[in-house]
Subunit: 178 residues, 2 copies
């Protein structure tokens, strides 16, 4: 599928409500269960998405759009949320994410980006030149991947509870080595 | 995590709103894109979940609770939805799923099941004896697995659009042979 900015913005706008529907007021074991050591539980995922709003997608888009001599992105800290949110509740984080996302999408829409601007490039610290279009496509895929992660990790909390059903529930076998 | 009926019912009650947030009024290419031949797109998943409400989870619970001499489940038709929903819209199916799910959970709550009832068994056509508790746990995992599938399949529609980001978006590599 070709990248489309309007429908990408539409998909990005849905993530806060999706996570709210899945997670708000859910009992703690569902929120804190993981699928392996050093992996994200649903609480971590919401914190990680907040980090993305504050330090990743829109800040990188600004670097590209500034058209400076060295459009190199700051490296992204995948574990910033651990210290930041240690004493926060999931309800707070869900509200914070929704506010940040809404503000970022308002900003994105206000830019009224042209096809020429979407073809501008920045420099990713690991893999080099990427276009603004690729950055926004990656933002969409990143969101969807983390919603998939939340539901996969929740499903795995019942791996033993389903008994002989395991082989018929393939989500339980995904990411055997997460 | 041990099976808990109240929190399982809570998780099951969230799926219609989660799918509504993800999918309602989304442009057709996002709804119809697949991850491989003979796999479900998001439209198919909603139809498959409707089939589950009508022919799988609660009908099988009734067979167990009837305590008859042969508590064998009917085999489940994974492709019933294809003919059933050929001319329906996703909006209709989302509404239908929400109504069926709400009714089934009202019924489930009205049964006020005891631990002894949750330990009753039925016979699965493929893998034999299973408890009512395992059936309900499988219902929860089945829901979560299909929400994960919807978001994974949507993410894969942008596999080419993300360009060099592919290796950093692991959801794009899940189910390489779906």
């Amino acid at each position: 599928m070709d990248f489309d900015l309007a429908s990408s913005t539409d998909v990005l706008a849905r993530t806060p409500a999706t996570l709210q529907a899945l997670l708000a007021d859910l009992p703690e074991p569902w929120i804190r269960g993981r699928e392996g050591p050093d992996t994200f539980n649903p609480f971590d995922v919401v914190g990680h998405l907040i980090d993305g709003e504050e330090t990743d997608w829109i800040p990188r888009a600004r670097i590209i759009l500034a058209r400076g001599p060295d459009p190199r992105f700051e490296p992204y800290d995948r574990f910033r949320h651990r210290a930041r949110n240690a004493r926060r509740s999931l309800g707070e984080l869900l509200g914070e994410f929704a506010g940040l996302r809404a503000g970022n999408l308002d900003l994105l829409r206000s830019w009224k980006l042209t096809e020429a601007e979407l073809a501008l490039t920045g420099i990713h610290p690991t893999f080099g030149p990427v276009t603004l279009r690729q950055l926004f496509a990656a933002w969409v895929v990143h969101d969807l991947g983390h919603v998939a992660q939340v539901t996969r990790v929740m499903a795995k909390q019942y791996r033993d509870a389903v008994g002989p059903w395991v082989p018929f529930l393939p989500v339980l076998m995904d990411r055997v080595s997460p």
